[in-house]
């Protein structure tokens, strides 16, 4: 399940920043392009795509560092398996 979530998140990030090479384990904050506009887009994308609401206490840097960690967040928040 989170394979699918992870792939969708990666596709979204690559769509926004086609010039960067990125894989699921890569720390996107180290790439230096994350600003608050992108952070907002990312959260909206995750909420819309996976039908979840991210509560404040989950809005932590570590949960958004990599496509893997975002997929794990989606897994925790989804009532039913996401992306099946």
């Amino acid at each position: 399940m989170s394979d699918t979530a992870q792939a969708q998140i990666l596709t979204f990030i690559r769509g926004r920043y086609p010039q960067v090479e990125i894989d699921a384990a890569q720390d996107i904050f180290q790439l230096g392009f994350v600003n608050s506009l992108f952070a907002m887009e990312l959260v909206m994308f995750v909420e819309k795509t996976f039908g979840v609401t991210i509560p404040n206490d989950e809005l932590q840097l570590d949960h958004f560092r990599t496509a893997d960690s975002m997929a794990a967040l989606v897994g925790r928040l989804s009532p039913a398996p996401a992306g099946v």
Binding site: M40, E41, F64
Partner: protein, 385 residues
Amino acid sequence: MTVAAPVLLAPPGDQVRDRAAARAFVDTHITPHANGFERAGAVPEDLLDRIGAAGLWAPFLPVEDGGAGIDMVTLGELHEEVGRGCSSVRSLLTVHTMVSWTVRRWGTAAQRERWAGVLARGEALGAFCLSEPEAGSDAAGISTRAVPAGGGWVLDGVKKWITGGQRADVFLVFAKTDASIGAFLVPRDTPGVEVRPIPEILGTRASMLAEVSFRGVRLDGDALVGPSGFTAGMVLTGTLDLGRYSVACGSVGIIQACLDACADYTSRRRVGGELLRTMPLIQAKVSDMVTDVRAARMLCAEAGRLKDAGEASTLMATWVAKYFASTAAARHASEAVQIHGANGCGDDYPVARLYRDAKVMEIIEGSNEVQRMTIAGEAYREMTR
């Protein structure tokens, strides 16, 4: 009379939930008095109460928070109609909307319990405090600071150009924290808060602007709204996005008001024995107003639809809508004054006010220049996709 505006069939009720009701409300309680509000430099209390009774302060809040759960497209239509009547009133709605949305989107259960209902009913009015004497476009350059102290915070700094600041009951204040920029809810009566009216301003002259100082203001831990880490910037991004949407819709209202005023004036005013409306140069100006008001309205509706769908692309759609609508409003308000001649410079018609207000729309919620930089940045990013 409204020209080129959507045709409405629904009868107005007490509660303002749709464009038809908003139009009736505005035509009764706002438009006829808007020049007077400007002269007085204030929106009267009885109108603020009426807006509350009509449920117009924050109708997008869910029913459980005291709102009516209306969608963003409809909210935009309400703000357009209010903006058609008076941009000062619409500005008060805009900042109140920004505060109410922030409480709803990012507030804890306790914060919502405390604020959502009173904001929905307009028993507490909200104001949005980001700009400072030395920082406007560059939000990262603010110097107001919130320092953790004893489980809470101490807030120090000065905010300027605060719409509704003279009247607001609660300020949503953006301040630097160690981690990022945080958003804090500060009741007006907190010790250390001082409000100084700014009486002289080019446009939105009834919007009760103020400079608000925070000196050693002690806040509880739960004054912080939303996360305090890297994602705190998102509170600001989301809040500004909604403010920008409201200003875009309000700008559509300004264009509509220019069009209505000009259609009416040119149908009565004769020059050299001929009605102005028969003259090709006048018709050219009016046709451009008709075209732009429809285009701007569609851009706003598109941004609203994307908000309702939860699409991230609403952020850019809102930038584009605001850029188009605000620049068109400034252009057409200038032409509206021109069409009215000397009458356009006086107080017997609305167009001098519309002209002053329209200029402000090009500066607030992302100035023209900042909008163009953002829109161009996105265009280049898309090109490389």
